[in-house]
């Protein structure tokens, strides 16, 4: 890991700087990270059993996902990807919806009113500009909302990343660009995605503050995002955050990382696990014991299981229902097509 980045919590759980949150809050965030991991492993397992469509695990990126969302408020927006389930959940996207989406059901996106989290973007790079738009709307509507968009290193290669960064700069939208540089765009290592030394080097080209942080350090993530969110909320415009992390698992359950990387590199990152690091901190601060850990794990497991059960209990769409959500009211063409389907099967 390059040294030129913000780190607050060392891998051994000791502090280099000031913790951005108190110990109680740290315990809450720890709890959330554990829920994320339990969810992630459950989904991988379910996919193997054929109960989910392809799944994109985020193991190793829990500090990014929980930490980036921690500073958000109710009126804020989250616009993230297929790999950001923990972030979305922590921002209020119900877990049952996340799982439903992964089973292959559009109702996954049908989240409660008031939760400002868009369904995950499956296309790479196209969604960041949406968070410029939602942020812009907040600015025009004067609701003080901030938009957080999360994306990977690979997404920064798309033209849409550029247009999003540029628009955010020009219109000074309250948008936080949170890039999880997890080292890979499927099989393409970071070094082959760009000739830049760091993605954060791009920020200056948009007249935007940028910071590179240790993405496996919950405190660095919380600190950097808090500052970016405060800047945005107070009218200071967008910030770009490059969080250095690693995708421990495969790109998706359909991927075989053995084709493009060695287990050694991955093992090294395993030793820098973001959850272990916070645990070490809590231990050192007398804020952890095994029974609490077990409680957290059990709760997480119950929560995930309940969501799975609820998702799987839902009957799939009937034939007619697939026509129902293209427009506010189905057009005559769609009604005719629905009839054709009924007629001919």
């Amino acid at each position: 890991m390059p040294g030129d980045m913000l780190q607050i919590l060392r891998p051994d759980g000791t502090l280099v700087g000031d913790a951005p949150v108190d110990v109680d809050t740290t315990r809450d965030l720890y709890h959330a990270m554990v829920v994320g991991r339990v969810y992630d492993r459950k989904c991988t397992a379910m996919q193997k059993q054929g109960r989910l469509a392809t799944y994109a695990p985020f193991e190793g990126q829990e500090a990014c996902q929980i930490g980036a969302v921690a500073p958000l408020e109710e009126q804020d927006w989250v616009v993230a990807t297929y790999r950001d389930a923990a972030a979305m959940w922590f921002a209020g996207y119900p877990m049952v919806n996340l799982i439903l989406g992964r089973t292959g059901d559009e109702r996954g996106g049908q989240i409660p009113e008031g939760v400002n989290v868009l369904p995950p973007s499956i296309t790479v790079g196209g969604h960041m500009i949406h968070a410029v738009g939602t942020g812009w709307a907040s600015k025009l509507q004067g609701d003080g909302g901030v938009s957080l968009t999360m994306f990977g290193d690979g997404a920064t290669s798309e033209g849409d990343f550029h247009e999003a960064m540029n628009f955010a700069g020009v219109y000074q939208t309250p948008t936080v660009f949170f890039c999880q540089n997890n080292g890979w765009a499927i099989s393409l290592p970071f070094e082959q995605q760009t000739n830049a030394a760091a993605l954060v080097d791009k920020a200056i080209g948009y007249g935007m503050p940028g910071v590179r942080i240790d993405g496996n350090d919950l405190f660095a993530v919380v600190a950097a995002t808090t500052e970016a969110v405060e800047t945005a909320r107070s009218g200071g415009g967008p910030t770009f955050i490059e969080a250095m992390t690693y995708r421990i698992g495969p790109h998706t359950t359909a991927d075989d990382p053995g084709r493009y990387r060695t287990e050694e590199a991955t093992d090294e990152w395993r030793r820098s696990d973001p959850i272990d690091r916070v645990r070490a901190y809590l231990v050192a601060n007398d804020a952890w014991d095994q029974s609490w850990e077990d409680e957290v794990a059990d709760e997480a497991s119950d929560q995930v299981e309940a969501a799975v059960e609820e998702a799987e209990a839902l009957d799939p769409f009937t034939a007619g229902e697939v026509f129902d959500a293209m427009f506010a009211e189905p057009t005559q063409t769609l009604l005719d097509q629905r009839d054709m389907l009924r007629r001919d099967g």
Partner: protein, 330 residues
């Protein structure tokens, strides 16, 4: 609209009036390249920034995907953006946003999130413009589930359809025929009114052949109907006004009566929207057809530049010839 105050306007002026009206709703934002200070390359947004300010009528960088994507975000968050793409030939960089996000968010979220936005795109040729400035690629939008596609041919429809598009709860691709911006004036109501999306207009009744057109080509279609009338052939003229959702009933009822149809568009022939119409007509009215449905279209070539463009755009002669051919049918 009887008894209402009207003003004689070109289509560009009618659209300008419609946009001004739309801006009285505070959630409406207009964004696009050069829409503000200059009022757009066709002056359709002329004066709007001066009146409503640079926050509501926004000059954007040259970035079509950004324009559409930002409009999408604005719409999702409760605004009513009206995006302008400068020419249809420059709309393709924004196509991904249109197909993968704008048209899909409602379905993706089963009505939870929606993108009620309008994308205005000047299209079509006939003015001897540079390459990419004469495109008529509506078919790449009509094929996208979740979009409505509207094409006015005259000032009064332009304003009414625009108002309907802005009010529509779903995304509307609003195609503006460049050649018709200033070629025709008519009395346009000053007050607000909607021309409903999805309803074609029978401009002229006739019993011998149905002429189906939209956008700028309506001028040639109307003229062809005159020529045919002078030869004793009664052409029923349909201006589709909306391509999606298509007003199938109006088209079919007419063809069932006439037994003959000619579809006119300036887009390339292969996979153009004319194919959809012809396919639909033979599906619903085959046994009424007395001759093959004719398509009078642009060719499968790049719209030629100024010196040879005339060989591309369907002219009155071609429409008349096609119509006459249908009357020679069995």
């Amino acid at each position: 609209m009887n008894g209402q105050a009207t003003t004689e306007r070109t289509m560009a002026q009618a659209l300008n009036a419609g946009l001004r009206e739309a801006l009285s709703d505070e959630s409406v934002v207009i964004l696009g390249e050069d829409v503000g200070r200059t009022g757009g390359v066709f002056r359709v947004t002329d004066g709007l920034q001066a009146e409503y300010g640079a926050e509501r009528v926004v000059d954007t960088p040259v970035a079509e995907s950004g324009i559409v994507g930002a409009a999408f975000g604005l719409a999702v968050a409760g605004m009513r953006p009206i995006a302008e793409i400068q020419f249809m030939g420059f709309s393709y960089p924004g196509y991904d946003q249109v197909v993968n996000h704008v048209s899909r968010i409602r379905n993706r979220s089963r009505h939870r999130f929606t993108a009620p936005l309008v994308i205005r795109i000047p299209y079509g040729g006939g003015i001897g413009a540079a390459e990419h400035h004469s495109e008529s690629f509506e078919a790449i939008y009509t094929h996208v589930p979740g979009l409505k596609v509207v094409v006015p041919s005259r000032p009064i429809d332009a304003k009414g359809l625009l108002t309907a598009a802005v009010a529509d709860p779903d995304p509307v691709i609003f195609l503006e025929p460049i050649r018709a911006y200033r070629s025709m004036k008519e009395e346009v109501p000053d007050d607000s009114y909607e021309v409903p999306i999805g309803v074609a207009s029978i401009e002229r009744p006739g019993d011998d052949v149905t002429l189906i057109g939209y956008g700028a080509m309506m001028r040639e279609v109307r003229e062809a109907a005159e020529v045919l009338a002078s030869s004793g052939v009664g052409a029923e003229v349909i201006d589709l006004r909306t391509l999606v959702p298509l007003d199938v009933e109006t088209v079919i009822a007419s063809v069932q009566n006439t037994g003959r149809a000619v579809i006119v568009h300036e887009a390339p022939r292969t996979s153009g929207f004319g194919g959809e119409i012809a396919a639909t007509i033979q599906e619903r009215a085959l046994y009424s057809l007395r001759a093959p449905v004719e398509r009078v279209t642009g060719w499968d070539i790049v719209v030629p530049l100024r010196r040879a463009e005339k060989h591309y755009t369907p002219g009155v002669d071609r429409i008349v010839a096609a119509a006459m051919r249908t009357t020679e049918g069995h």
